[in-house]
Structure formats: structure tokens, C-alpha cells
């Protein structure tokens, strides 16, 4: 039937490989943006600002969500479905909390008069965190869909592939945010 499958057993699954490549390209996008910040930083009239506390809390949320997701994946491979569902629910809540806290962070800055059009240093934060939030939103939607599917009666879920793919992506989004935060703190 599919004679290629024999050889493919030992290789990484094509979808997973594609996701790694996708991650590489997202990284290039942020590399482009962060190097733009570095170029700008070295020019005149760079104005420093304080990063609102909300971004610390959001970081905490996304780190914990990664941990719960690891546990959820573990529960899934051991077919402890009840535990899996609970952990997925917690992960989705934490993911949502991350996005809410990011928005609060933006709101807080905006209230201080640090709007996107105020100065380039601040505008970069909006763009970096904003583009990151879009990627996180995509991941969150995927998480919620996967969670909802675990209640579906129609299809039984046996494949570990979806949870593995989403875990990979979500951990990446988390690590990316931590990198961006450290970068912003150092450069601001």
C-alpha cells in the first residue's frame, strides 16, 4: 500500500518536522524585529520607559501553562483521560490569562501616555508583544479546539500527534515571550 511508510518509521513525523521549520521562520521574523530595535537603540533620541508589572504576571501565567501542558500530555499518553481534561482546562485558562494580562499591560502603558505613537522605543514594545500575542492567540485557539475534542463522542482520540504538535508550539510561544521580555528589559 504505502511502501514508503516502512522506512519512515524511524524518522521524525513530517508534520512535526514542518512545525519545527515553521518555528524557524517565526524566529526569523522576530530576529528581524529585534535587530531593528538594536539598530534604533544605537541612534539618537531613544527614550527609556518602565515595563509594567503585568508583563511579569503574564510571564508567570505562560510558564505555568507550559508545565500543566506537559502534565496533560503525560496524562494523555497514559490514557488518564479525566486528568488530561482537567489539565487541558487549566492550560486553556492560563493561556487566556496570559493574553488578558498582556492586554492589561498595554492598557496600563497607554494610560501612562506611553501610546504606540509616543516614541519608537515604546512602539517597538507594542509591535513585538503584539505580534507575539497574535502567535499566542493562534496557539490558544488550537489548545481550546483540542480540549473541546476530548469531549467529542464521535471520534475517539488515540493519536498522540496533535497533543505533541500543540505542546511543541505552545512551549515555543512561551520561550519566545520570555526571550522578548528579557530583550525588552535589557534594551529599553
Amino acid at each position: 500500500m504505502y511502501s514508503g511508510a516502512m522506512e519512515q518509521k524511524h524518522k521524525i513525523h513530517p508534520y512535526k518536522f514542518s512545525l519545527w521549520l515553521g518555528i524557524a521562520s517565526i524566529l526569523m521574523m522576530f530576529a528581524g524585529l529585534t535587530s531593528a530595535v538594536i539598530v534604533k537603540r544605537n541612534q539618537a533620541n531613544w527614550i527609556s520607559y518602565d515595563i509594567p508589572q503585568f508583563f511579569w504576571w503574564s510571564s508567570l501565567a505562560i510558564i505555568i501553562s507550559s508545565i500543566t501542558l506537559v502534565l496533560a500530555a503525560k496524562a494523555f499518553t497514559h490514557r488518564q483521560m479525566k486528568q488530561y481534561r482537567n489539565l487541558m482546562a487549566v492550560t486553556c485558562v492560563l493561556g487566556t490569562a496570559f493574553l488578558v494580562l498582556q492586554s492589561l499591560g498595554f492598557y496600563n502603558m497607554w494610560q501612562q501616555g506611553l501610546t504606540i505613537s509616543s516614541t519608537s522605543s515604546v512602539a517597538f514594545l507594542y509591535v513585538l508583544a503584539g505580534m507575539h500575542a497574535l502567535h499566542a492567540l493562534g496557539g490558544l485557539v488550537a489548545l481550546i479546539v483540542l480540549y473541546a475534542k476530548s469531549y467529542s463522542r464521535k471520534q475517539k482520540m488515540y493519536s498522540v500527534l496533535p497533543i505533541q504538535l500543540i505542546s511543541l508550539y505552545w512551549h515555543f510561544v512561551g520561550i519566545l515571550w520570555i526571550y522578548l521580555l528579557v530583550f525588552l528589559i535589557m534594551i529599553r
Binding site: M1, Y2, G4, K11, S18, S25, A36, L161
Partner: protein, 602 residues
């Protein structure tokens, strides 16, 4: 982990199984519109690309009318274009829109999406022995994102203030301020949105190509047994994955500058006596971000062209390609170097000369792998038993164009010369020969060569020869003279040169070029006719392997269904270039190595 692996296996088996049965129960919609068959998606890219190519080329005819006949007016233009050509003369605003759209359409929509989209989709699975792409669904999305991007760009042609008009390189501040040009009012926003869709489409396609090549090769198809077409499309995809996201960053910032009041690229600007509030930005930053993609982009265009030419030349010279490994390593070198030379487009931006020296060095280094490739093509042709099919002629034409245009690259790569030549017609001549015409030639070569596999019929040969000779001669007649006006300092992107005493001498030449452009354009329409006519009325292909080629696509049925091979996937025993070996015309990749066969065995 073993449970994981077996799950994968069953999934893949399932996919293969589906592929076998799908064509029995397909509606028109799933077969031709939302198809997930890589061959159909290839044709969708191709036909969308052809439509864009006609539009892009037509635009060049229009602006050449202005350049060739700046004093004349053509009343018919007013009938067609309305306010864009008052009194039958193209308006300056529209002229810039035409030039911008010509570049955008041809570089991105035709020579990137049209070229890679067509041949990567068509050839990769067929030539590595796969039933389809790693993710047929993602592949379908890739086309539809390109389609949406196309629709948005096409819409921008019809809005009140016209499409973007700041050049295909969309430099700010021109592109960032809506007061700066008509095209910057709304056309530029549509350009950015359209390009965002296009970039996502390219990324989805590229991910698929790379992952397919690495994961779905059939038994025996090691990396070093892949045809050079596959290698080139593989490198192209990697380069795209690494550089297109940076263009996205670049245009996102531009979008913010335009619509959210940021000042990433803008500073100290006064328009009509009014000081703008933008402060502290840098247009040079834009140039860095843009060219970080922009330069790799030119190789994203030319690498597939190189791969197609290599394959067509080897098949039709009935000789193994000379220096197979050197061909691959020089492509690798080109990919690596192309990521670190972007600033050679910015020699006049006031960069530090020491920095410039570094970029000169790397830029000129690209000439080395390029020369190796040229040498190998010529050596493959040398004493070959050449079959001058239209495909072969176009492949040879590609080599000729690549040499002529590449030589001027060496002039431009020297900052000292480039300061004189930058943004002149010399530059236009350089990149049209080396990239524009060369890549088109390879695309034609590929189409004539693989048309029988795509549609089960041949294209008309006589029309093919006419197409080749007029295009070949025409392309040189159009672009060769531009070297001279460029050396004399004639700048690009001007609406009318007839007021300069020093450029008056080129008036006749400009007229001549414009006339040739019209002739060449009509010849391309003839090609398009040949293409569509042959789909339905061409001579039928009666044998599975009409060109006596070694590669796997010719081991499929004449009109392969979804899944490509009706039975088992073929097993590969040798490299793809066993031509004229041991007294045999050619030995297919699926033929096992014989007992008495002479080495080397690849």
C-alpha cells in the same frame, strides 16, 4: 515511543490508502478547485501565474509607450484607462503605479509563486517518488492564500487613488506618507495586506517542500540521488523560510507607520511647508530589513531556474550533468552567501566604507559558485548529442542570459563603480537579464519539457521555435542598449527624459526598445495561445517516457491520478543522470545496477 511510531505508520498508510481511492468519488469542486493533489495545485499556481504574467507584461508595454514616445498621445489609452491617461497620454502618477506593479507582480507573483509554486508542487513528489506532499492540506492553503493575496492586489488596481506607486522596493518615506503620492493613499495598504497573504502562502508552501524532500523520499532515493531540480527547489524553500519572515517584519512596521502614527522609518519630514509629527525614525532601517529579504529573493527566483535548466540540459544533451556534487555545493554556497550581501543595494545610503568593503567582498564571492555552475552547464553541453527541442533552446537561452547579466553584477558589486551606476539603466539591464529574462527562459524550458507530464499532450513545436527565437533576440535588443544609457547616467524610474540635453541622444534608442517590447509581448501571447490550445488540442502523448529521461516522473502512467503510481512506489537504484552509459541511451533510476555495468555507481 514505539507506540508513537506505529501510530504514525498507520496514519501514513491511511493517507496512502485514501490517495488510491479518492479519484473515484470526487466532485468538480474537490477535483479542480479545492484539490489537495499536488499536481492540480501546481496547475493552479501555474495558471494564476500566467494571468499575472500577462498583466505584468502588459503594464511594461504601457509604460514603454510613454518612454518610447514621450511626445505622442494614443487616444485609445484614454478610452481604456480613463482618468489615468488624460488626452491619451499616461499620467505621471499612473506611470509610477505601472512601474511599481510591474515589478511587484513579476518578481513576487510570477517568478516566485508562479515558478516555485508550479514546479515545486509538480516535480518534488513526482521526482522523489512520493504520493503527495507531506501535508496536502497545508499545500492547498498555500495556494489559496496566494489567491487571496492576488485578489487584494488586483483590487488595488481599481481603487480611486490607484495601486501602490513607490517602486517594487516600496522605500519610505514615499510609501509611508499618504500625502507623498497618489499610490500611497490606500494602494500601499492593500499592497502590504496582499503581500502579507503572499508571504504566508510562501511559508506554508516552503515548509511543505522541505519537509516532503526530507521525509517522503521513496526507497533508495538518497539525497544524492535526487535530480538537481529537486535540490534547487529544496534550497529555494529553505531560503524563503529564512528570509520572507523578515519582509513581513519590515512591512508590519511600515503598516504601523502608515496607520498607527509610529515613526519607525520616518523623521524630520516637511511636506508642503508642514512639519510632520514623525520623529526619530530611520528610512535606512527599512532598507536593511527590505534587502535582507530582497537579495535572497532574487536567488529564490533564480535557483529553481538553475535547477530546471540543469535537468533540461542534461536530458537533451544526452549526457550526465557535469559536476553533480559541485552543482549542489555551489547552490549551498549561494544560499549561504545570499544571506550576508544585502547591503550591496545600499552602497549610496551613506554607510560606513569599511562596512561596505565587507559587503563588496561577499558580493563578489558569489561570482565563484555562479561561475562554477555556468562552467558545468557549458561542459555538459560540450560534445553532447544535443536535441534542440524548444525546452533545450530555452535552457541554453537561460545560460546565455545568466552569463550576460551576471557579468554586470561584478561591476555593480564594486561600491566605487556602483556609486555611479546605482539606480541607472545599467542596473535595470543587469537584473532583467540575470533574473527576469533568465528565470522566464527557464520557466519556459520547464513548461515545454514537462507539459506532456502535466496535460498528457505536447505543445506545438513550430510555435515553440518561433517563440524562442523572437524572445531570445528581442530580450537582448531590449536590454543590451540599456547598459549604454545607464553608463551615461540615465536614471531609472523617471517619467520623461526628453527634457535633458544629455539624454536626448537616447530618444531614438528608447523608441526602438519600445517597438521591440511590443513585438516580444505579442510573441508571449502566442505562447499563451499555444499553451491553452495544446491542453485540449495538442498532439497526444502515447508513450510514458517521451523524452527518454531517467527520472521517476516518467515511470508514472501518462496521466497519473492522485497518488501518482497505481501500484507500489518505485524503488530507486541509481542517480538520475545515467545518460549514454555502457552503450545505452539512458538508464532509468528504477533499473537495478547490472552485473557487468561499469562504475562509478552513484
Amino acid at each position: 515511543m514505539s507506540s508513537v511510531a506505529s501510530l504514525h505508520e498507520s496514519e501514513l498508510q491511511h493517507a496512502g490508502h485514501d490517495a488510491q481511492h479518492e479519484h473515484h468519488q470526487q466532485s468538480f469542486l474537490t477535483k479542480y478547485i479545492f484539490s489537495q493533489d499536488h499536481k492540480t495545485i501546481a496547475k493552479q499556481f501555474l495558471i494564476t501565474g500566467i494571468i499575472w504574467a500577462i498583466v505584468g507584461a502588459l503594464f511594461s508595454v504601457l509604460f514603454r509607450l510613454q518612454l518610447g514616445f514621450p511626445e505622442s498621445s494614443f487616444p485609445i489609452l484614454e478610452d481604456i484607462l480613463g482618468k489615468w491617461a488624460p488626452g491619451g497620454k499616461i499620467s505621471p502618477d499612473f506611470y509610477y503605479a505601472l512601474v511599481t506593479m510591474h515589478g511587484t507582480i513579476l518578481v513576487f507573483f510570477v517568478l516566485t509563486a508562479g515558478l516555485s509554486g508550479t514546479f515545486a508542487n509538480f516535480l518534488i513528489p513526482l521526482q522523489i517518488g512520493a504520493r503527495d506532499m507531506a501535508s496536502p492540506f497545508l499545500n492547498m492553503l498555500s495556494y489559496w492564500f496566494f489567491f487571496i493575496g492576488s485578489i487584494i492586489m488586483a483590487t488595488s488596481l481599481f481603487i480611486q487613488t490607484g495601486p501602490a506607486s513607490g517602486g517594487w522596493t516600496i522605500y519610505p518615506p514615499l510609501s509611508a506618507l499618504s500625502d507623498a503620492a497618489l499610490g500611497s493613499v490606500r494602494g500601499m495598504d492593500l499592497w502590504i495586506i496582499s503581500m502579507a497573504f503572499f508571504i504566508i502562502s510562501q511559508l506554508m508552501g516552503g515548509l511543505n517542500y522541505v519537509s516532503t524532500v526530507l521525509n517522503l523520499r521513496t526507497k533508495g532515493m538518497t539525497m544524492t540521488r535526487m535530480p538537481l531540480t529537486v535540490w534547487s527547489l529544496f534550497f529555494t524553500a529553505i531560503l524563503g523560510i529564512l528570509s520572507f519572515p523578515v519582509l513581513l517584519s519590515c512591512v508590519v512596521l511600515l503598516f504601523c507607520d502608515r496607520n498607527l502614527g509610529t515613526s519607525f522609518y520616518l523623521s524630520d519630514i516637511i511636506i508642503a511647508g508642514k512639519v510632520l509629527p514623525h520623529e526619530g525614525g530611520s528610512p535606512i532601517l527599512f532598507q536593511h530589513l527590505f534587502w535582507f529579504l530582497g537579495h535572497p529573493e532574487v536567488y529564490i527566483v533564480v535557483l529553481p531556474a538553475m535547477g530546471l535548466a540543469s535537468e533540461v540540459i542534461s536530458v537533451n544533451a544526452r549526457k550526465p550533468i557535469f559536476g553533480y556534487v559541485a552543482m549542489i555545493s555551489s547552490m549551498l554556497a549561494i544560499v549561504a552567501l545570499s544571506l550576508i550581501v544585502w547591503a550591496h543595494h545600499m552602497f549610496v545610503s551613506g554607510m560606513n566604507p569599511f562596512l561596505g568593503a565587507g559587503f563588496i567582498l561577499f558580493t563578489l564571492l558569489i561570482a565563484v559558485p555562479s561561475a562554477i555552475k555556468v562552467f558545468n552547464w557549458l561542459t555538459t553541453l560540450w560534445r553532447g548529442n544535443i536535441r534542440f527541442t524548444p525546452a533545450m533552446l530555452f535552457a541554453i537561452g537561460f545560460v546565455s542570459m545568466f552569463i550576460s547579466g551576471g557579468l554586470t553584477g561584478i561591476f555593480l558589486g564594486n561600491a566605487a563603480l556602483d556609486i555611479q551606476l546605482h539606480d541607472t539603466y545599467f542596473n535595470i539591464a543587469h537584473f532583467h537579464l540575470v533574473m527576469g529574462v533568465a528565470a522566464f527562459f527557464s520557466m519556459f524550458a520547464g513548461l515545454y519539457q514537462w507539459f506532456p507530464k502535466m496535460f498528457g499532450r505536447f505543445m506545438n513545436n513550430t510555435l515553440g521555435y518561433i517563440h524562442f527565437w523572437i524572445t531570445m533576440v528581442g530580450a537582448y535588443l531590449i536590454f543590451w542598449p540599456m547598459h549604454y544609457s545607464g553608463l551615461a547616467g540615465m536614471p531609472r524610474r523617471y517619467y520623461d527624459y526628453s527634457n535633458w540635453e544629455s539624454f536626448k541622444q537616447f530618444g531614438g534608442m528608447n523608441k526602438f526598445i519600445s517597438i521591440v517590447v511590443i513585438i516580444v509581448f505579442i510573441t508571449q501571447l502566442m505562447f499563451v495561445f499555444n499553451f491553452f490550445y495544446s491542453i485540449w488540442k495538442g498532439r497526444k502523448v502515447r508513450e510514458a517516457n517521451p523524452w527518454d529521461a531517467t527520472t521517476l516522473e516518467w515511470t508514472t502512467p501518462i496521466r497519473p491520478g492522485h497518488g501518482n503510481w497505481p501500484g507500489e512506489l518505485p524503488e530507486v537504484h541509481r542517480w538520475p543522470y545515467d545518460y549514454s552509459k555502457d552503450g545505452k541511451e539512458f538508464i532509468s533510476q528504477i533499473t537495478p545496477v547490472g552485473e557487468e555495468e561499469t562504475g562509478p555507481h552513484h
